[in-house]
């Protein structure tokens, strides 16, 4: 922490996002005629970038890191700002910035885009709050703060039957899983008498270990919903396919990472490995099974899809499975506990850029109206060469091919899992990556090698959505730049994760 600032300034990244969202809402409410799509998009992008720069500044100056006096705790330990939280806030802010810039072109003829921008920023605020939550009460409030705007964002095109259906399904599964998560919290409270993570860990639960165990299992359910993992993954293909593509990008990158920050912090701090082993609440095993099932189901289901957006939805389920290795491949006193979790964090950062970029390319295709299937994308590179090259970068990086950033994050993740004695998880992940290469390269093949069925099919590509282009190209550049920049990223992530053990 920079000494001259008060302690509460550690929350600045979240406060900037909240203030921007509120300002947009205020302007939209008091002078609805003065709003313009462009100025709203610029203000939201500036807000997100402001939050990102504060976060990067905090990380660089060592706020909350172990070297400079440890985490900053606020509000009677309910909030804890450490490097782990700042790392995730950086992911949320970057994805938010890309999404609001892209939304400028996507909603160019929409009559009320202000609601979109403020809801996106509120959801990002909730995510940042989730990253710093150190009490189950804050976790639940922040989780709802992410979920409620997200339901609306998915159903944002309220004249569009697909969007409404997607919003309804997301809401149904979301409301159910947050009720299950809440009941899990109440059982943990019943067993331990506290909601602060550290106090839960220090309570001994002799007679009520069973209650605690059921509570932990129900909380895993809540995490599985947010991260779109088995068994609460059903909503993901529907919601991502029906939602406006920038919203799909936001949910599948930022909202998923928000679910993982809960998993990483709550489970390691409230139910530390020692307690999990002694009280027989073996959540690592539960996560290992979920990781294996999730990545297999996601990748094999993605391989049989005909629509690009739906394929990306299933691929995002598969990537949730990879990232779950970060909480699954943990053992008591394991030598690589911090490394494997740090690698999962780095993977989520890289994934934030490449997956957002891929969905924004789909947003561009929707903006042009070229169609949704692989066949509709045939020969697109002739009309949109730069965007097509960017999409190829995203696809190969998602598949984990060298020399893209996705290769390094996966390599570190699987290597750390092997170091911790989880060879089977790493092997399964590698097999799944091979499967994923098949369906990712189908997109590249369609873009560059196939010819469109009708020569007039590409006439739809008649506009140049500048902001969308900029967002896609920036995401591609970030995916490439994370290659030389991967060293600092993985070091920060591993240091942040190691502080949890």
């Amino acid at each position: 922490m920079v000494e001259t600032l008060p302690q509460v300034a550690a929350l600045l990244p979240a406060l900037v996002l909240a203030a921007t969202g509120l300002a947009l809402l205020l302007v939209d409410t008091i002078s609805p005629d003065a709003r313009s799509n462009t100025s709203m998009a610029i203000v939201s992008a500036l807000g997100a970038l402001g939050s990102l720069s504060v976060t990067v500044w905090f990380v660089a100056s060592g706020t909350g890191s172990v070297d400079t006096g440890g985490a900053v705790t606020l509000f009677a330990d309910a909030i804890k700002v450490d490097t782990l939280a700042l790392f995730f806030i950086a992911i949320f802010a970057s994805v938010t910035a890309l999404v609001v810039v892209a939304a400028h072109d996507y909603f160019h003829d929409h009559d009320n885009p202000a609601a979109f921008y403020s809801l996106t920023l509120f959801a990002a605020t909730g995510m940042s709050l989730l990253a710093v939550a150190n009490s189950l009460a804050v976790v639940f409030v922040a989780l709802e703060m992410v979920s409620l705007p997200s339901y609306v964002l998915v159903a944002y095109l309220k004249q569009d039957r697909g969007s409404v259906e997607a919003g309804l399904k997301y809401f149904l599964v979301g409301a159910l899983s947050s009720a299950v998560f809440l009941f899990g919290i109440s059982l943990v409270y019943a067993a331990t008498g506290s909601l602060i993570l550290a106090d839960i860990a220090s309570t001994s639960v002799e007679g009520l270990a069973g209650v605690l165990g059921v509570g932990v299992v129900m909380m895993i359910g809540g995490v599985a919903f947010k991260t779109a993992s088995v068994p609460f993954h059903f909503w993901a293909p529907e919601a991502y396919e029906g939602a406006p593509a920038p919203v799909s990008a936001f949910l599948s990158s930022a909202s998923k990472a928000a679910g993982f920050v809960v998993a990483f912090r709550v489970f390691t701090e409230a139910f530390p490995l020692r307690m999990a082993v002694s009280a027989n609440v073996d959540w690592m095993l539960a996560f290992a099974v979920l990781a294996a099932v999730t990545m297999t189901l996601g990748n094999f289901a993605a391989a049989v899809q005909e629509e690009v957006k739906r394929m990306l939805a299933y691929s995002s389920i598969g990537h949730a499975g990879y990232a779950l290795i970060g909480v699954a491949a943990l053992t008591l006193d394991g030598p690589a506990n911090g490394t494997v979790m740090g690698a999962a964090m780095a993977h989520l950062l890289v994934y934030g850029f490449m997956n957002t970029g891929a969905f924004l390319f789909v947003a561009m295709a929707e903006r042009w109206g070229v169609g949704r299937t692989f066949a509709d994308y045939a020969g697109l590179w002739r009309r949109a060469p730069v965007a097509s090259v960017a999409m190829a970068v995203f696809m190969f990086s998602l598949a984990g091919l060298p020399p893209f950033a996705g290769f390094f994050s996966k390599y570190f993740l699987f290597q750390a899992a092997i170091d911790n004695g989880f060879l089977w998880l790493a092997a399964l992940g590698a097999v799944n990556s091979v499967v994923s290469l098949y369906y990712y390269s189908r997109v590249v093949k369609a873009l560059f090698l196939d010819d469109p069925e009708m020569s007039s099919a590409l006439d739809a590509v008649d506009v140049r959505p500048t902001a969308l282009y900029a967002a896609v190209v920036f995401a591609a550049v970030a995916t490439m730049l994370l290659l030389p920049g991967f060293g600092p990223v993985i070091e920060t992530a591993e240091a942040a994760a190691s502080a949890l053990f």
Partner: protein, 106 residues
């Protein structure tokens, strides 16, 4: 009053809360109307509230009671969003039956 409440074993509260939760879950799984779904989810959240309030008393700790108030506010917010989504559902599909919208493959 407090003496009576405190003399009830905590496991009874757990049983009551679990029963209410299961009734809510049963409603979620069997009802087709989106409005019944909202009511059932409300039951599930209130089951959690029973636990929070009961164990706040048991441990002599106010955290649970205060959090129960938060949950009530959040449940209201969730219902407000849910009603909005059900309204656009009705406008687009002419029904509140959650099994009718199936434009996309499941």
């Amino acid at each position: 009053m407090t003496a009576i409440a405190a003399s009830i074993p905590p496991s009874w509260y757990l049983l009551l809360a679990s029963a209410v939760f299961c009734i809510g879950l049963f409603g979620v799984l069997t009802r087709r109307s989106a409005l019944y779904f909202l009511m059932s989810v409300e039951l599930m959240m209130n089951a959690a509230n029973i636990n929070f309030v009961a164990f706040a008393l048991y441990y002599g700790d106010l955290t649970g009671q205060v959090f129960a108030l938060f949950v009530i506010a959040l449940a209201a917010a969730e219902v407000a969003i849910g009603i909005g989504i059900i309204l656009v559902l009705y406008r687009n599909f002419g029904t509140t039956d959650v099994t009718v919208p199936a434009e996309m493959r499941w």
